[in-house]
């Protein structure tokens, strides 16, 4: 009897606290039907926001994957003084408030920042422009690829790499043909996490963006201005699209794991 009560309480909790929110997003987006929802997404400002989000996400994923792989290589295949400090450093952005993660870039490149006015005179705009949004997003998503790669590459040890080296392979060959194939699943998962976080970043981007519709508004920022302008249907349609994209990235992470399990079951 108590078991059924426990089940009921748990499911009530899951539905009320967790499942209600995606239901609200869909219900609010489709309140006036599918047509207005789709129309709101093809608005030019909405289209610009979608493109900017994709652009910023692509740049952040590219930078943090390339450097993340090299950092994971250094952190796992060598033992050198300062290694543990570096391990702490790459995880630091996780414990920093999003707003602070945006603010730090204004301190460097804002009008009152260290280099802002000099660069501004040279015609280079970083704060309240797209480069600032990219810097803030890279900062926020920096840890994800490294921290998924490090435990796995640590476990791999370096026997295979040393064997490849003795066989005459160079650095890039070892990395590309020996180390990364074994870390494929972790790398994939780290990239998808970076993608999901980059698309949804709000606080950091909000501080450096300047909120110019059609120019420096990413999807989350556009959602905010639509919502504050009482355009509920448009706000929630954009929210549904963004949430769908982010959740898709998160869910895709379990695909290679499931494929591997199926292969094992067959063998």
């Amino acid at each position: 009897m108590s078991r059924y009560a426990l089940w009921a309480v748990t499911w009530a909790l899951i539905v009320l606290v967790l499942l209600m929110s995606p239901a609200v997003v869909v219900a609010e987006a489709l309140k006036t039907g599918l047509q207005p929802a789709l129309a709101s997404l093809s608005d030019p400002d909405a289209q610009a926001a979608i493109w900017l989000t994709l652009e910023v996400t692509a740049v952040s994923v590219l930078v943090n994957t390339l450097f993340g792989i090299l950092a994971a290589w250094v952190l796992t295949k060598y033992r050198f003084p300062g290694r543990s400090a570096l391990l702490v450093l790459v995880e630091l952005p996780l414990s920093i408030s999003p707003v602070v993660s945006g603010l730090v870039w204004l301190l460097l490149f804002g009008a009152q920042g260290w280099w802002g006015s000099v660069l501004e005179q040279a015609g280079i705009h970083i704060a309240f422009a797209v480069p600032g949004i990219m810097l803030a997003t890279i900062f926020v998503t920096l840890p994800y690829v490294v921290r998924t790669l490090v435990p796995l590459m640590e476990q791999q040890g370096r026997d295979a790499e040393e064997a490849a080296m003795l066989a005459g392979a160079g650095f890039w060959n070892i990395l590309w043909r020996v180390t990364l194939p074994g870390a494929r699943v972790a790398l994939f998962s780290g990239i998808l996490l970076t993608t999901a976080r980059a698309m949804g970043e709000f606080g950091a981007v909000s501080v450096v963006s300047g909120h110019i519709p059609g120019m420096t508004e990413t999807m989350p920022l556009h959602i905010e201005s639509l919502y504050n302008g009482y355009q509920t249907v448009a706000a929630f349609s954009m929210a549904a699209l963004l949430a769908g994209m982010a959740m898709m990235a998160v869910l895709l992470r379990s695909v290679p794991e499931r494929l591997a399990r199926r292969k094992e079951a067959q063998a």
Binding site: R3, L6, W7, T10, W11, L13, V17, L18, L19, M20, S21, P22, V24, F67, L70, A71, V74, L75, K77, Y78, F80, P81, L86, V90, S95, I96, S97, P98, V99, V100, L103, V104, L106, L107, L108, Q112, W114, F139, L142, R158, M165, G170, F171, I174, M199, G200, E201, F202, S206, P220, I223, E224, Y227, T232, A239, L242, A246, M247, V250, L251
Partner: protein
């Protein structure tokens, strides 16, 4: 010293190629994207003179906002402990029907972009919302107050508690509870001494992670918070307000305190965990 420098330059004696190239890339990356902005955060507030910093620290509105952020995050993390424990327990031990779906749904707050959570929670608990409207009839007003902030932070923090408790609970042998019952323990004794005691470090870690996240949370909170100065204004929002007033010193002062608060939360938790594990070994 010389040896440490040499070892740093040579990768600690490993013969694998690529060390210097990869190290240089890593240092450039972390240097430009982490060390540089953080040193700006630490140095910049003092550049307008110590007087400006002291003046910024005399701001009552700032302390009210910091207190709101901290107290709401603390309360939300505290309330998440029993909720998270219950969810983790039924997922691991309860043979819950639909376990796999439930398991996937737990991570939802982490996957949902914060702006989406923000407008959704504000709508859900707002005066016309699915949950807000019936509760308002009962006289419970949740949105646009500190209660709203706590609710939003509970939503965001819940996965941290569940996901840190779950693996420990999985490794906890079931026969311990049976043994305790056979030895004459009462049900509440089994819960507090056999189940909760070994989970304490994990519960604390989950609490600390939720607290550290909650103190700095912005997107999921501002839509439901009401944002009234001295009442329901969170510290990250006050940073944004100060920036709009072009008050960089004020904004940076808040940011610095906020950063120290969340780092302190994480350090305290790891200290307490270490203490608990020392006790565990002695016992």
């Amino acid at each position: 010293m010389k040896q440490a420098v040499l070892s740093f330059l040579r990768g600690g004696g490993s013969a694998l190629p690529g060390y210097r190239l990869a190290l240089a890339a890593t240092l450039v990356w972390t240097g430009f994207f982490i060390l540089l902005p953080l040193s700006a955060l630490i140095i910049r507030p003092w550049q307008d003179g110590v007087g400006a910093m002291v003046a910024a620290l005399h701001d009552a509105r700032m302390f009210a906002a910091l207190w709101t952020s901290f107290s709401c995050a603390f309360l939300a993390a505290l309330l998440n402990i029993p909720l998270g424990l219950l969810l983790a327990w039924t997922l691991v031990r309860g043979d819950l029907p639909g376990r796999r779906v439930a398991d996937a749904v737990i991570d939802l707050p982490l996957a949902l972009p914060t702006a989406v959570s923000g407008i959704t929670l504000a709508t859900l608990y707002g005066p016309q919302g699915w949950l807000g409207a019936p509760l308002a009839k009962l006289g419970l007003v949740l949105a646009y107050s500190r209660t709203g902030i706590v609710l939003a932070l509970m939503f965001v923090g819940l996965p941290f508690v569940v996901r840190t408790v779950e693996p420990v609970l999985k490794n906890l042998p079931r026969d311990m509870e049976e043994a305790a019952v056979l030895l004459g323990a009462r049900p509440w004794q089994v819960v507090t001494r056999v189940i909760i005691a070994p989970l304490l470090p994990a519960l604390l870690t989950g609490f600390g992670l939720a607290l550290a996240r909650g103190v700095g949370e912005y997107g999921s909170v501002i839509f439901i918070a009401g944002n009234q100065p001295f009442k329901s204004e969170i510290a990250p929002l006050l940073i944004v307000v100060r920036l709009q007033e072009f008050d960089y010193a004020g904004a940076t002062a808040i940011a610095l305190i906020l950063l120290l608060m969340s780092l302190l939360a994480l350090v305290l938790v790891s200290l307490v965990r270490w203490r608990l594990s020392v006790w565990g070994e002695q016992a």
